[in-house]
């Protein structure tokens, strides 16, 4: 019974932790630009992240090696160094975007100056990383991120054309502006398959001391957790399509995304959306920091873990 509870908790944390700043921005902007036509791309992205995470979790459970341990061992120093540098650069850029997102979200909640909030966000995240256990970080931010489910309610309340939504799941190329369509398609796959998620997932498997007996747990976490996380992406894109496309709005601010929940649901929708964004983006910042550290110590062969 406690194992089932553990699986459920892990899945819930994965759902809340799936969405980060890239998913928020790209899904809503894609919906506002092409309606529901890019929903099928989210499915491709989710299949990709499930495949990679499940594979890395399996390797970690069986060999007790996380991604960069295995990379260094299998492909040699030079290729692994190239992969390390590339992944750390991407991690750093992702972290900068996530911290900026946390500060904007705090500003929308409090009205305080943005620059001050960037400093506060960095300090707060550092304190959380330093004093909180791995398990509590994962679950607090994962569950907090579940506030983003408000976008599923908003999407339904906005009354989209469900037949049109259904057609969006069939792969196709848009007739109007195919280049922009391709840009969004690549961006959506990239947003769903952010590298830090895979590094974090496989290192987490080693931290949690998964063994071959946990392969079922690994599969359930990856498929159900990320699958349901993809559901949040659908909700964001449908909200973007149902609200912004009809009004000719190109959402360019984090506040525009929150407006997507405020318009159909009022203040409670706005507050839940902002809290969900804050936890999702804050959690992603922490995951990114952990991933960067994991990659470096695993590549160098240093001792690591909580």
């Amino acid at each position: 019974m406690s194992k089932i509870f553990g699986v459920a908790l892990g899945i819930l944390a994965a759902v809340g932790g799936f969405v980060d700043i890239g998913d928020l921005v790209f899904n809503v902007a894609a919906g506002a630009t092409f309606g529901y036509q890019l929903l099928w791309v989210v499915v491709v992205g989710v299949i990709g992240i499930v495949t990679y995470s499940e594979m890395c979790g399996r390797v970690a459970a069986v060999s007790d090696k996380a991604v960069f341990d295995a990379v260094r061992e299998r492909v040699g120093f030079k290729a692994a160094l190239g992969a390390l540098v590339a992944s750390e650069v991407v991690n750093l850029m992702t972290l900068a975007a996530e911290i900026g997102g946390v500060a904007i979200c705090l500003q929308l909640l409090s009205g305080l100056p943005y620059r001050l909030l960037i400093v506060l966000a960095v300090v707060a995240l550092a304190v959380v990383i330093w004093v909180t256990s791995f398990e509590w970080i994962e679950r607090t931010f994962g569950y907090g991120g579940l506030c983003l489910l408000v976008f599923a309610v908003a999407a339904v309340k906005l009354g989209p054309d469900w037949a049109e939504v259904g057609r969006g799941f069939a792969p196709h190329v848009a007739q109007n502006d195919p280049l922009l369509y391709a840009y969004f398609a690549v961006g959506l796959v990239g947003a769903a398959m952010t590298p830090y998620e895979v590094y974090f997932y496989s290192s987490g498997a080693v931290e949690e001391e998964w063994t071959a007996e946990d392969l079922g747990l690994n599969r359930a976490n990856a498929i159900v957790g990320y699958g349901l996380g993809g559901f949040l992406s659908f909700a964001l894109m449908i909200t973007g399509g149902a609200l912004f496309l009809g009004h000719g709005i190109e959402p360019e601010h984090l506040g525009s995304i929150a407006l997507g929940a405020e318009v159909p649901l009022g203040q409670i929708g706005l507050l839940l959306a902002l809290l969900g964004i804050l936890f999702a983006v804050g959690g992603a910042s922490i995951d990114t920091v952990f991933s960067g550290a994991y990659n470096l110590v695993q590549f160098c062969g240093w001792e690591w873990g909580r």
Binding site: E262, G266, L270
Partner: protein, 129 residues
Amino acid sequence: MRSPALVAVAVALAGCNGGTVDRHALTNDASTLDSIACEGALLAHDVSKGASTKSFARVHSDALRAQASHLADALSDRPTSPGLEPEVRKKAMDASAIASVLSLLHHHPSDRERAARAERALQRAGSCA
């Protein structure tokens, strides 16, 4: 060696609101301006109904105001294609007017009557659906 670098800098500056406004650029800027006005109208509507929070209305209206204001500056300064100048300068004034309405929302984020007036003004400015 220096010429390609200068060309690169010139191209980059041209992309930063420094180039000539042609018909295509004007259409894009007009569409962005309509988008800002319509988003502002949605926000103003929520404020007028008491469906937003003071902080959110103040901060988000300011973000939209800054965007409209940058467009106004760019459209009032940049050189234009022949025959396009009156349209471009008119659009700069529209952008400036939208920024002013959003500024009111920023300074009075809980004034429902003012918000209702702002909503109507922004809807007209952006020809919102």
